[in-house]
């Protein structure tokens, strides 16, 4: 994946309309956004402003009603479902507010999930899992189930799962939203380290100013529009 002009994410003239019965809800309207490679961007805005919707479009989890979404030079809005799934597996790491770990799997099995889609051998997968869990400081808890872990630990597992395939972009949807301040700070520190030391491009949705302060750039979303400054 390449971005010759340094721009990794290019969202252009994007509309997103949801239908509720006969009612049309315009969540995003003619939205444009560019994110450079290696950037740590915080996407802020009130509830219902379209932050998560925009994140979903950039992660290939949903499709825009109009407009284009280009990641690393690839038009993901033009991909088929199957192509998009393969693209997500290779290029996107997702971190969710409520961790979204599979409760029936141990921490290491949760982290291993994306690797099942690769051609790696069992031993290689084990090796990668160990590396990822080491990176988030959770090797001692690898055999624990999510219910046996604290919120902060579960989010670390979530991050390990997100980085296991060494994705091009890390999309985080309120990653500290369900954590206390201390755990939240640890997670933010981890994301910062991934950005600084491993040059990971991170886009983080949050409405916590404390969290957004860790990002290199902040953009605000309100009523489907982007603002460089927090709108009044």
């Amino acid at each position: 994946m390449s971005a010759s002009d340094g721009v990794l994410v290019r969202v252009k003239d994007v509309d997103k309309v949801f239908h509720r019965g006969s009612e049309e809800i315009h969540v995003l309207s003619g939205l444009n956004l560019e994110v450079a490679k290696g950037e740590f961007l915080a996407l802020m805005g009130p509830s219902g402003s379209g932050k998560s919707t925009l994140l979903n479009l950039m992660g290939g989890l949903d499709r825009a009603t109009n407009g284009t979404v280009e990641i690393g030079g690839e038009r993901i809005d033009a991909m088929s479902d199957r192509q998009l799934a393969a693209w997500r597996a290779r290029h996107v790491g997702l971190v969710f507010q409520f961790y979204n770990l599979l409760p029936v799997l141990t921490a290491e099995r949760n982290v291993e999930l994306p690797l099942l889609l690769t051609a790696l051998s069992k031993a290689e997968r084990r090796q990668h899992v160990e590396t990822a869990l080491t990176a988030v400081g959770l090797t001692q808890r690898s055999r624990h189930y999510p219910r046996q872990l604290s919120g902060g630990e579960q989010q670390r597992v979530g991050i390990a799962r997100a980085i296991i395939t060494d994705p091009t972009i890390l999309l985080c949807d309120e990653p500290t939203g369900d954590l206390d301040r201390k755990s939240g700070d640890e997670i933010l520190g981890l994301l910062q380290a991934l950005n600084r030391e491993h040059d990971k491009t991170i886009i983080m949705v949050t409405h916590d100013p404390h969290a957004s302060a860790r990002a290199k750039r902040i953009v605000y979303l309100d009523k489907g529009q982007l603002f460089k400054e927090k709108p009044e």
């Binding site: 997500r88 597996a89 997702l94 799997l105």
Partner: protein, 387 residues
């Protein structure tokens, strides 16, 4: 194979529910096994029937005898290549509950007519030389621990001996079956000994076995035999062995239809149980299925994972049910009343294969709708849902 842990972990999610579903599938397949053995037992004769053998009996009923003299007249009918005869003796050994198939026959007619009976040449010669000689099937010999040289006294509720006492027989041969479906629980002794020693009915036989040259002409030959003895004091009814045994079985009812109806009802119920389990399982983990898709699982792969869970339950339950059913049937086959009345009591290999295919089909049908539902989940919506 690398997805196996994921499938297995999902099945362990609600252990009690999975176990109960497995048990319900298992019980259905145990029933399948038992009914399969019962079907064979009741229609066993049809399985053993030879396509080019006719049975000729008294037109009124099987218990009415036919004259021995009919044999020579039947031999002259075009299309008939060989004839043998037999008579129901109903021999009892020691205790009235030990009654088994006991028949007087002419060895040199009977053995060529029934090639499925495998008897060593030396034992055949001994039978021809010994007037009181009898050959017994391996299964019967094992049941009573008989061996060659034993003298066996039998009584009959139907045929009294002139002496009024028990009939004495010398075991001269133990026969095996050419096929698994050959009945080896029979007891055959010489007709000349029987005919001379019986107190009444001399010169009569129970029924005839007639071999025809061409199985395609069996119906025509049967009609010719019946025509030969029409308007005589002992009119005949000739039919193929298969038709006769089928007729016997249908006196109880259409076994095949009854068994199919019972199994149909059972499997339909199990289908609903297993289908409901899978549907509930998919509903409960909508968000998790969304996560799988989010990390890159394709829709088809998600379908495969969910469908595999259904297949694993069904195949595990089905195979365990077939295995357990096989054990039960094998155990029952040793029971006295089964050995006495149902010489063929086992699960045919064909039915075991059908059972395995049925288990797969059950898993597929029960799982396909929930799997399609999982496949069609819209990713962003699935992630938003709580479950």
């Amino acid at each position: 194979m690398k997805f196996l842990f994921l499938i297995w972990s999902n099945l362990k999610r609600k252990k009690l529910r999975t176990i109960l579903t497995l048990l319900s599938v298992l019980v259905a397949f145990v029933l399948f096994s038992l009914l399969s053995a019962l079907k064979l037992a009741l229609a066993g004769g049809v399985v053993m029937a030879d396509a080019n053998r006719l049975i000729v009996r008294h037109r009124v009923s099987f218990i009415q005898p036919l004259p021995y003299a009919y044999m020579a007249r039947m031999a002259r009918i075009p299309g008939v290549s060989a004839i043998s005869h037999t008579t129901w003796f109903g021999g009892i050994y020691q205790d009235p509950k030990n009654q088994f198939g006991t028949f007087p026959v002419e060895p040199d007619l009977f053995l060529p007519m029934n090639p499925e009976i495998i008897l060593p040449e030396s034992q055949k010669e001994a039978w021809l030389k010994t007037r009181t000689g009898a050959i017994v099937g391996r299964r019967l010999a094992e049941r009573f621990k008989w061996k060659i040289g034993d003298r066996v006294p039998l009584t009959s509720p139907f045929v009294q001996s002139k002496s009024g006492g028990a009939w004495e027989f010398d075991i001269v041969g133990i026969y095996d079956g050419a096929k698994k479906t050959t009945d080896t629980s029979g007891f055959f002794f010489r007709y000349d000994y029987f005919n001379e020693a019986r107190s009444y009915g001399t010169g009569l036989v129970g029924w005839y076995q007639v071999r025809v040259n061409d199985p395609k002409q069996a119906t025509e030959v049967a009609a010719a035999i019946d025509a030969e003895f029409a308007n005589s004091p002992a009119e005949t009814k000739a039919e193929t062995e298969g038709a006769m045994f089928q007729g016997f079985a249908q006196q109880i009812g259409d076994i095949g239809t009854i068994v199919t109806a019972i199994l149909g009802a059972v499997f339909f119920t199990i289908l609903l149980v297993a289908g409901n389990t899978m549907a509930q399982s998919v509903r409960e983990r909508t968000q998790e299925l969304g996560v799988l898709k989010a990390v890159g699982f394709t829709n088809e792969l998600v379908l495969g994972v969910v469908l595999s869970e259904s297949l694993v339950i069904s195949v595990l339950g089905g195979l365990a049910g077939l295995a357990f059913g096989w054990l039960v049937v094998t155990g029952l086959a040793q029971a006295g009343f089964i050995r006495q009345y149902f010489p063929l009591f086992f699960i045919p290999e064909r039915d075991l294969i059908i059972g395995a295919v049925l288990a797969l089909a059950l898993g597929f049908v029960a799982g396909i709708l929930p799997a399609l539902q999982a496949m069609r989940l819209r990713l962003a919506e699935a992630l938003r849902r709580e479950g």
